[in-house]
């Protein structure tokens, strides 16, 4: 319903040419010198331009797509897209053969060029990535899709460029599901909302009649699991965002909460609270079998699988205070891994497998941090009055989380917003949303 599958009809016009000493971007450290690059507006012929103007109500779809690419690359913090006013070469000619000395003059190290055409009621894009210093083509791709997918075209180009220049998958053709918030803190109205990773195409998925919390994407499909207070019974639900169908997960005599999918998308792991204790359970979505994973008088919650599905991290107060643990996926070998000062919660396993992101409370401050899966190498990325619930970008390089502000002495001035930060601790950014927002969850790449 929301997204029509993009059709990649023609990929790889020309394979990447032989590698010399081509430019590369190191993303393992905080990048204080983003790579200067030029995004030449995608060229477009007059006839195509008029057709798209009619269909999409955009005067020049070529420039619009290149603006998406520019914004994505800028926001990543790794690239510095140069001002178009300085470009000397016309877009159509640059796409055929760049005059490298001109691009060199404005200090561009990489150049993106391309062309959009209207073919058989479809949008066809070709683009090229050039290494300006080596005067070489690094990549050329073309694909065709329905015109309404034009924003995704921009995101896919960004992902390809990011991948070619950093050696790692991008994260731009993705979406964020989150909770949109409105109204006073004591009577907050919360709705599920979804948007593209860059904040565009925002849509509300529920009306706000009941409290909803903690939506999470299925990494393998367009499903979402979340907590809803429908009929004042807090239960874990499953929502198909293409069809809008919802169903309650399992038949538990009490509150189920903190849901998350297994990496293959076939199970939901969650907490079930009864008689003052919360334990972790899984439900197989195919045969509906429920399995108990932990059995302890403490609070065990916020479970998250390792990417290979063999381990689970969660937080528990079995030591007396909230701390992070790992165990095997059957609940055996429970081991505490957080030993620093303060309380630790909301552990989430990185899609790369090597790190666990968490929220930490220490001396009245909240931190988002990461540690290795054995608890060593703790690094705190950001400190604030209140923030929690990190969610990883699919390439494991960026975390999105939410932050709340302190109210003034009249109890006013509360706000909740989404923020993102690099794994390096650099490039902290507000992710703009139409309303207040919390509980973000990052999708997988939509096109793979």
């Amino acid at each position: 319903m929301l997204i029509k599958k993009i059709i990649i009809l023609l990929v790889l016009l020309i394979l990447p040419t032989k590698v010399f000493a081509l430019i590369e971007v190191d993303i393992t450290r905080g990048n204080l010198n983003p790579l200067p690059l030029a995004v030449s507006p995608l060229s477009i012929d007059d006839k195509s331009k008029k057709s798209f103007e009619k269909i999409l109500k955009k005067e020049n779809i070529g420039s619009e797509i290149s603006i998406i690419v520019e914004n994505n690359l800028r926001i990543s913090g790794l690239f510095n897209p140069l001002n178009k006013d300085a470009f000397l070469q016309a877009p159509d000619i640059a796409n055929l053969k760049p005059r490298f000395e001109d691009w060199n003059l404005i200090k561009a190290q990489a150049l993106i060029t391309g062309k959009v055409t209207y073919v058989d009621e479809k949008l066809r894009v070709e683009f090229r990535l050039w290494d300006v210093l080596a005067a070489k083509e690094m990549m050329a791709l073309a694909f065709t899709t329905v015109p309404s997918n034009w924003r995704r075209v921009g995101h896919i180009i960004s992902d390809k460029v990011y991948e070619r220049l950093t050696g790692e998958k991008g994260y731009f053709d993705t979406r964020i599901i989150y909770v949109a918030e409105e109204g006073p803190k004591t009577k907050r109205i919360k709705k599920l909302a979804i948007m593209d990773q860059d904040g565009e195409n925002n849509k509300f998925l529920t009306l706000g009649n009941e409290l909803v919390l903690t939506p999470r994407f299925n990494p393998a499909s367009q499903m979402v699991t979340y907590l809803s207070y429908f009929k004042n019974l807090p239960r874990v639900y499953l929502l198909d965002i293409e069809t809008g169908t919802q169903e309650v997960v399992g038949d538990f005599p009490g509150m189920t909460f903190a849901p998350r999918f297994s990496p293959d998308g076939k199970k939901i792991i969650m907490s079930f609270a009864k008689d003052g204790k919360s334990d972790i359970y899984t439900m197989d979505l195919e045969n509906r079998l429920v399995e108990r994973i932990t059995n302890h008088p403490s609070i065990d919650t916020s479970p998250s699988y390792s990417p290979n599905g063999k381990y689970i991290t969660f937080n528990s107060d079995r030591s007396g205070y909230q701390q992070i643990y790992i165990m095997k996926n059957d609940g055996s070998n429970v081991k505490r891994i957080s030993f620093g000062k303060g309380l630790y919660g909301t552990p989430v396993w990185s899609p790369r497998g090597d790190l666990i992101a968490f929220t930490k409370l220490h001396k009245g401050k909240f931190y988002i941090g990461v540690m290795r899966t054995d608890g060593t190498g703790e690094r705190l990325l950001t400190e604030n009055y209140y923030q929690e619930a990190p969610s990883w970008s699919p390439n494991g390089r960026v975390l999105i989380f939410y932050r709340e502000t302190k109210t003034d002495n009249k109890g006013e001035g509360f706000s909740a917003k989404l923020w993102s930060i690099d794994l390096t601790g650099y490039n902290e950014r507000l992710v703009e949303t139409p309303t207040d927002a919390s509980d973000p969850s990052w999708s997988s790449l939509l096109s793979n």
Binding site: P184, K185, T186, K187, R188, L211, L213, T214, L227, N232, P234, G254, M255, F257, A258, S271, A273, D275, G276, K277, S278, I299, T301, S302, N315, D317, Y321, Q322, G345, T346, T359, L361, G364, Y385, Y386, E388, A389, E404, K406, T407, N409, G411, E412, F414, D439
Partner: protein, 164 residues
């Protein structure tokens, strides 16, 4: 006699120390200023408190991260139990809440634990578990939107609400 004298003197010394330290640090001073409404991190005031019947307050309060009932909370719950015994047709929902200084999911569990600790106490005074249901709101429904220790103490609560 000698012992009690020693005891008295020690007490005086301790009290003097307390007075001195209260003046010495700013932190002590703030606790003192809201002292009338918080005791040992638990709210003891009456703001927002409703009454199920005359002399039967609807809620009990908790210390940070705790679900242990204080002496005052037990007294409130005994009054609720007596009222429930008298009104055997009434069922209740115990709504458990947490303050804003904790992660959302943990607070949902903590609210459930607090409401259950009130439920257990009502049951020991003869109220059948069939008449009590538990609903946790975690930190989603504070009654005070402030970001102060006093506001947080009012929000750490279990509220008994009539279900019918």
């Amino acid at each position: 006699m000698i012992l009690s004298k020693i005891f008295k003197n020690t007490l005086l010394v301790i009290m003097a120390c307390l007075v001195l330290s209260a003046c010495a640090t700013k932190k002590e001073a703030t606790i003192d200023s809201i002292g009338g409404q918080i005791q040992g991190d638990v709210y003891t005031g009456t703001e927002g408190v409703k009454y199920l019947a005359d002399g039967v307050p609807d809620r009990v309060f908790f210390a940070t991260n705790e679900s242990i009932l204080t002496t005052a909370s037990r007294e409130t719950l005994r009054a609720q139990a007596a009222w429930l015994r008298k009104n055997s047709d009434i069922n209740v929902i115990l709504e458990g809440h947490a303050d804003e200084r904790g992660t959302r999911e943990y607070n949902l569990a903590l609210g459930e634990r607090r409401a259950n600790s009130a439920k257990d106490y009502l049951m020991t005074y003869g109220i059948s578990s069939d008449r009590i249901s538990v609903l946790s709101y975690g930190k989603e429904r504070p009654i005070d939107s402030g970001s102060t220790p006093l506001a947080w103490s009012k929000n750490r609560r279990s509220v008994t609400v009539k279900a019918n």
